[in-house]
């Protein structure tokens, strides 16, 4: 047999439907990070530093090599390049 809803219960139900859903702070970001991480097979989620290193490795490799060469040059002078080439050969 069908039950008739009281006026107060009906009012409560309508209020529940209309009430705004609030997501706890930080949850939205966490879900997004997890989704990005799980999709890493196709479009890996990368931190800004990782993006800088892994996306264009030649760029970072060139930066590091020039920095190391410059440092060695300042310590050993012009002979460092000959020393390094001699070592490699």
């Amino acid at each position: 047999m069908m039950k008739i809803m009281s006026e107060r219960a009906l009012e409560g139900l309508i209020k529940t439907i209309e009430s705004e859903v609030r997501i706890p702070e930080g949850i939205e970001e966490k879900i997004l990070v997890r989704v990005f991480a799980s999709e890493s097979e196709h479009d890996p989620y990368l931190m800004p530093f990782e993006r800088f290193v892994y996306e264009k490795p030649l760029r970072i490799a060139a930066c590091i090599s020039v920095a190391i060469s410059g440092m060695l040059w300042s310590v050993m002078g012009g002979s460092f390049a000959n020393w390094l080439i001699g070592f490699i050969r």
Binding site: S65, I68, L84
Partner: protein
Amino acid sequence: MYLLKVLYKSIIAPLEVFRKDHIEGRLSASIAIILITALLGSIIAPVVRFYMNKGQYEIHLHLDRMFIAFFVTIGTWLIVCISFWLWSKAFNKDLEFRQVISIWGLSYMPNLICVILYNLLSIAPELGRESNILAFILSSLFIMLLVWKAIYYFVFMRFVINTTLFEISLITMASTVLFVILMMVGFNVGIQVPML
């Protein structure tokens, strides 16, 4: 066409080819780089050196040593691939051997350029002596190739084997020992540029 596209991407945007899913032409590109590097380093370079210095010094071509170096180069690549594949199995990563060989071979691009540079210096040693600027550029290039190869290694660990920090530390420590052994074997058969 696919082969060239994969080669281009492995240099410009390695993340697009250093991934587990199937990519058309990747295995062929990988094998092509390995064969070209091995041929250049162990057969073509000694022949060129021989003909360049024939009149100046008494030198001989050791065909047997050249072919041993060629097969050792291929062998070291396979051993490194097998070790990475075994590590992936040990850490329960879903990775096939075919994926390992098709991806790790792409990391031989710095080796290939290093072989060319090294042999260029062997043929024309004055390049590194006459000009300080040129010597600086050449040294920077060698360091750049080393860093580039290291980045390929980390990309492979991070995006192909999908290791954690602990796993990558363990694999790197164990691989260092293996790499040193393979390098020593390589030097003994006349491979001057490490082929790992």
